[in-house]
Subunit: 407 residues, 2 copies
DNA sequence: ATAATTTATTTTCGTCGCGGAATAAATAGG
DNA sequence: CCTATTTATTCCGCGACGAAAATAAATTAT
């Protein structure tokens, strides 16, 4: 339980105002009052401070009410896109994606380096990330000094608090202190997080979770991820460790125990396909997007072996999703990641397994949606994660009293 | 995001003070300052209000510092046990337990009615609970008017917000509005909750979770339950639905899908034993505590069939617990419930399965403890659940300003 | 026995943030 | 040009917090 004082009070209200402006675009002060249930006085004071700090700007006085309304026109307020810039980075075993965004998490520049990271030592990967960040920032015509922070997302077991990647498909080593290492190289705050948390935040800010404050995000990528938004916040335990869906143990058809990730992750599916169909294994693992398209087309064209592999993965994943429904009872589950592009051959068995295994009486609780997202979505999530901290951070002025003195 | 005002501020701080007094027994104001990091001014004001409302009382001025300390002695403050009374109820398929407690959740009177509830219609069960509550309150020499609330815990899928039991082993019907029905009968606020949430809160307040704000509680009873304490609060999704571990789907040895509850719950274990060993099935299901003792003794005396059944249940549960570690990464998992009395024949295979299936790199994250608890613990948890609301409720006075006027 | 010292609690005072009410600003319509 | 209307700001009072001073209630020293 935290102790409350006026400062905290202001911080809370300030954050709700900033978040309201972020979510509801250019918005007038009156409307902020309605949405936040704060008094006009408070909204006026807070927006004045935000304007002072140039975190928000007044936009066109265009009135969205039915034209020809009487009275003083509303001044629409919006986030100042240039208030700060951040960089979002996403690492997968196959590539590095870097995106520079403005204060609204609009992507200004993004680039993708196709590198097989799992073959490289941690030092080399840190070098590559550093280069990527500097390059992307330069492409956006910004000096590094204007970058307020960098957020890096990667799969595996990641301690956000310490910036250490305990284990994951990206690093061959264990306990890599990537956060600290990059903060030193770039001389900028760097946070580390599980990639799926970024996906979850991205869905909450820009995607299928905008209208909800509680949902689950499952990413089907080289590895399987689970992100939880609970009461509007990314769900974390204090240690900063994050759940990993791929680590869940299931019983295989032959009775042996396996990790879910070794059956239903994209890398497992593609490996199965390569083994069954033969084909060029290197080519398949090197270009997952192409392999996914091939697999989808194959299954839909009626190749039974391919369809069977996808169906098996779908069913297995579906059972685990039903278990998540039993445990979390979320109003919505968002499926995303490259794996979604495998199409109905994967998703139909998945949905059926979910239906069959959802506990009685909970059929109407959870809605399942899916969405294919590009690389930018992940990087944008990383940027959002960084911005979230920034919005809450203390800026120049404290309130109206101080401003009155300095003017 | 909630909007903050002075009233909320006070409510928060007031609650932290009450909670500090509850947790750290008779405690002086100075020490409250240290623990809560509130200023002496604030603590003084809040405790004055609490004293005014008779929610707390000064106890012996005994100084626990090394005797012969100089200076003004500390006044120890404690919860006033008689500030209010609540009733906790727990329903299982076999019995109803009712406990009347004071403001400190000390059990004053408790009684257990052995009734096979699953044979009765909802109306009859509500009658029985009403009688039990009235009886227990009368036994404690209290009029019903002094009861501030009743909390009822039961297994199954329970909507706390609406007071409806969607489904569970207690009721043969679905969607029983037990909360509303009892609130009308008793003319007292009644809340409904999943029994395991009560167990979790009880562990947090009085048991193995006192020192932590994040942990999992798994109850092995007729059904399997999962309770989550997250950042000091019972974890709930907005709908008020609660997770049910028994509903998790697993793959059985023969490849078929089963609910975990149909393999590793106490009722499943006892049914397996009855089937395998023969014996008097009715007797075994009617007195679970006796059956558990018999099973434990049998397994430890070397009866291979019995040991095998327990080992299988233990392993299965262990795998699911490893999955919970993968998903929640809690610092501790507390196993409790009647099933713990099955002893090492169940727990050893369980712990081994947990060890074998915990994801790499997370072996040192979660500590597993177990504890046998009596019926009172559950009812006490129910009382605590009710008190939690009461502590936060607004009482007579608002603050020092008002008192100054009225005096 | 009385004064000095020490520690706990309360009181005084200044500040901050909130909300309500009055005021100012900006526009449309007559 | 004046009035009605809607939006935004300012003024004012209140409650809450914290710092510091004052007070209270002991123990120790003289």
């Amino acid at each position: 339980m935290k102790t409350a004082d006026p400062e905290l009070m202001r911080a809370i209200n300030r954050l709700t105002v900033v978040d309201t402006i972020r979510r509801f675009g250019p918005i007038a002060r009156v409307e902020i009052c309605e949405r936040t249930e704060l008094s006009p006085t408070t909204v006026s004071a807070i927006t004045a401070a935000l304007l002072d700090d140039a975190l928000i700007i007044p936009t066109a006085v265009g009135d969205l009410r039915d034209e020809a309304t009487r009275g003083r026109p509303r001044v629409q307020l919006a986030l100042n896109p240039d208030a700060a810039y951040v960089v979002g980075v996403r690492l997968t075993p196959d590539q590095i994606t870097v995106a520079t965004t403005n204060f609204r998490a609009d992507v200004l520049e993004s680039l993708t380096l196709p590198v097989r990271l799992d073959r490289q030592p941690a030092g080399v990967i840190a070098d590559l990330v550093e280069d990527g960040v500097r390059r992307s920032v330069a492409d956006a015509n910004l000096p590094m000094s204007r970058i307020a922070g960098v957020c890096i997302g990667l799969p595996g077991i990641v301690e956000r608090d310490t910036g250490i990647c305990r284990r994951g498909p990206v690093f061959s080593e264990a306990n890599v202190p990537l956060g600290k290492s990059l903060a030193e190289r770039l001389a900028v705050p760097v946070t580390l997080d599980v990639d799926v948390n970024l996906a979850a935040l991205a869905e909450h800010w820009f995607g299928r979770g905008r209208d909800l404050d509680d949902f689950l995000v499952i990413t089907i990528e080289q590895s399987l991820g689970l992100g939880v938004i609970h009461r509007g916040e990314v769900f974390r335990v204090p240690g900063g460790l994050s759940p990993d869906l791929g680590d869940v143990v299931i019983t295989a058809g032959d009775g042996s125990l396996k990790r879910l990730g070794s059956v239903a992750s994209l890398s497992a599916i593609l490996a199965d396909l390569a083994r069954e169909i033969g084909g060029d294994h290197a080519a398949i693992t090197g270009r997952p997007d192409r392999s996914v398209a091939l697999a989808r087309d194959g299954a839909e064209a009626g190749y039974a072996t391919v369809a069977a592999i996808l169906a098996r993965a779908g069913r297995t994943l579906g059972v685990s999703i039903a278990n998540l429904i039993a445990l979390f009872a979320p109003p919505r589950i968002i499926l995303t990641g490259l794996g979604i592009a495998l199409g109905k051959s994967l998703l139909d068995p998945l949905m059926q397994a979910v239906r069959e295994n959802t506990p009685n009486g909970m059929d109407d609780v959870t809605e399942i949606v899916h969405e294919i997202r590009g690389e930018d979505m992940w990087a944008r999530g990383a940027a959002a994660m960084m911005l979230r901290d920034l919005y809450g951070a203390p800026w120049n002025t404290t309130g109206p009293a101080m401003r009155r003195l300095t003017r």
